[in-house]
Every structure is written in structure tokens, then in C-alpha cells.
Symmetry: C2
Subunit: 215 residues, 2 copies
Amino acid sequence: MNRPDNVPLPAVRRLCLYLRQLEIIHAADSQTVSSKQLGAVLGISDAQIRKDLAHFGQFGQPGVGYRVPEMVARLREILGTDRTANVLLMGAGNLGRALLSYKGFTKRGFEIVAVFDNHPALIGTLLGADRDLRVRHPDEMPEIVEARSIRFGILAVPGSAAQQATDKLVEAGVRAVLSFAPCTIKVPQDVAVSSVDLSVQLEQLSFQISGVAPM
Amino acid sequence: MNRPDNVPLPAVRRLCLYLRQLEIIHAADSQTVSSKQLGAVLGISDAQIRKDLAHFGQFGQPGVGYRVPEMVARLREILGTDRTANVLLMGAGNLGRALLSYKGFTKRGFEIVAVFDNHPALIGTLLGADRDLRVRHPDEMPEIVEARSIRFGILAVPGSAAQQATDKLVEAGVRAVLSFAPCTIKVPQDVAVSSVDLSVQLEQLSFQISGVAPM
DNA sequence: TTTTGTGAATTGCTTCACAGCA
DNA sequence: TGCTGTGAAGCAATTCACAAAA
């Protein structure tokens, strides 16, 4: 596939948004869309969209726009989500269990197929909508990762356990970690990390609204 | 307070990380820290840290570094988290309930003090660690927002209900929205939004690890 | 006419490098 | 010496503007 090495990370983030919106547009039976239309919905300039797509070659037809079904397929291919990926969950606390019952993952090609937790009381319990996932001891991780070709790990453990849990994931062969831990975690260069710290999100918002209108 | 208007958003994000790390350092009883030390832990250059802080005036002492307790206080003031803020939760499904039991918010100065949901079966039920929060009908929102001076709203509803719910929040007087809905939401210019789409996070990671090592 | 794809211009962010201070 | 604060330089990302295609 035509995969340039220097795609800005902000552009990648936007490509995900394009795909999300195009799937909505596709469901509404529109066959084509222009960069201007797409940008209007997402709050992004049309030029920005064209530049982002230009990293991956020709997409649209001048005077017409982009053919929606083709573009959905192309974006999925680019993002590597054209087939379902197996995901593991580390941490079966409140947040972990909520993520398990979150249907959005499956809908977009990610399926949680294994759950791990250090807590003895949790190991062996059955989770998931169909109670079909047994919580496993982290020592089983390498075996399961190999057997089910798992590349993604979701980290939903307390900050105090985050680095140790991450090391386990990496050692087991996971290639990408989505972390909800409220701390920085260290990984080897070839492992990708995305950190979602919910408090940090609120703090950013706090800054944005402070000083504008006093309270 | 000394609040410049042109602070880059990436810088604000990093300020939150500095605060988080400084609190950890403070708990470990270190009294001072240099930009170099802090940067090493967070994977950020020392110059970057000094530039970010420079937006808000003088912080440190040449030859010594930054005094940790002072800097924690100053960053909290800058971010507007020097006192606890009341937060409302819209949506009492799986994700919403997990967020309710998440202790990280309280720890960092955000407290969920009201829960709303459209679903009749949920209204009136008691949630939270102490079962002290009654799920309310969204029509009660303006009154509660006013009474409890709520500026933050967490949106944990399905995508299909997201825009309508957002409009309710904004109408009720909420100034900042942390959305978990898998779609773009429209708000007036003076309302801040931060969108955490979990699938988009995984898709970004998917792109990052695709094409590096084949699968 | 509409809309893409793209070099050029611009804006914004990060890194560099060093004067000044402890 | 060690470290901050900061102008200058360099780099990256976005926007502009227009030739080419439908």
C-alpha cells in the first residue's frame, strides 16, 4: 500500500474523523461528498481535508467530489481497520467493565477478546454482555496474545499499577496501548501509546473557560 | 491573574501533565525540580517546559530550578483547579456509571454532583459509591446548574442522542463539555468542548503500527 | 461551473543558544 | 558551575490561490 512515512499526527487524527463522518453520510445514502461539505460538518477547512488526503494519492474527481463508498474503503485500508482486530483489556475494575460493555469498539472493528487482572478475587469471574469472557491472570497473557494475534491492549488499571502492567503488555507482544492511567508510561520505541487521562481533559477545559467569564 | 490570551493548546495540555507530575514529585518530598529533570520523566524537552511556563511569568530560580509546592499552587491557579468544581453527568448508562465511580476526578478537584438521563426507567434511581445521587430528568437541569454553580458537563450518551443532549447542557448554562459520544457536536463559540472518542483513539494507534511490521 | 490537487505563502510551534542570575 | 528566561532560528502545519479536470 502507498504509505508515506511523514504523515503528521494531527492529520491521522482527522482521517479518523473523516472516516467516521463518511460512514454516517454513507448510511444516509449519499453517493458523493465534496471536501467543502465534509469540512462544514466537521468544522475543518476544505483545503485541510484535501491536503490530508493528498498524503495517500488521488481520491476524488474534480467538479464532482469524493465517491463515498470508495473513500470509506480506502480510509479503512489506510488506517488498518479494514478487518476486525483483536484487543485485550488489562484491568477489570469499574472502568474496564464499562469498556467491555461499550459497543462502539465492535462497531468500528475492534473486539475485546481477553481480559486480565491482577486481583485474585476477580480472576475466573465471567464478564461481558454474554458472560463469555473469563478474567485471566496476567501470566497467561503471552500465550493468549500469540494465539489470538492480539496487537492492541487497553490499560484500565490504577496509576500505581500502570507501569508494571504496561511492561507485561509489551513483554507479551502487544504493539499498541490505549492507556486510561493518570500517569506517563514508558514503552519501547516500536510500541505506540495513546493516553486518555480524563482529569487532564477536564483541566484543559477548565483553563479554556477560566478568565473568559469570571465565576 | 496574569492570563495571556494566546497560549497554544498543546502548551495547555502539557501544563496539565506538569501539574500531574509535580504532584507526584511533591508527594515524594522533593522540594525543587529543574526543567531538565521534569522533562526527562515526561519525555519533553527542557526548553519546551520553560517556554510553556514563560507564558505565565517568572516561575523558577536560575541555578536552582522550580520550587515544587509553589509551582503546584501556581499551576492549579492557572488551570483554574485551585478549588473544587462541580460537574454534572448526562447519561447514566454503563460508561456514565463507571465515570461516577472513578475516583480520579475528585482527586483532582472535579466532583460529579448531579446525574441526568432521558430514560424513564433510570430516573429516580440512586447511583454513586454512597448511593447519594438520584438520577434526574433533564428538565431539572437549568435549576440544578444554577443552584450548584455547575460549569462542567460530562456527556456519556449514545451518538444518536448526543447533539440533543448537548443543546440541553448548553441551554442550562454549562460552559464546558467533555464528550464521549462518537460524533461531532455543535456548540456556541463561548462553550468549550473536548471530545474523547475511544474508537478514534484505537484507529490512530492502528495507523501508527500498520506498515511498520506486517501482520 | 464546480471541485480537486498542489506549489507558495503564511502562521504557529518547537528547538537552539546564550545572557543573566544564584 | 547550574539553571532560568528569552530572542532568534528552524521546522512543521495550515491556509491561500490557482491550474487542470469533469
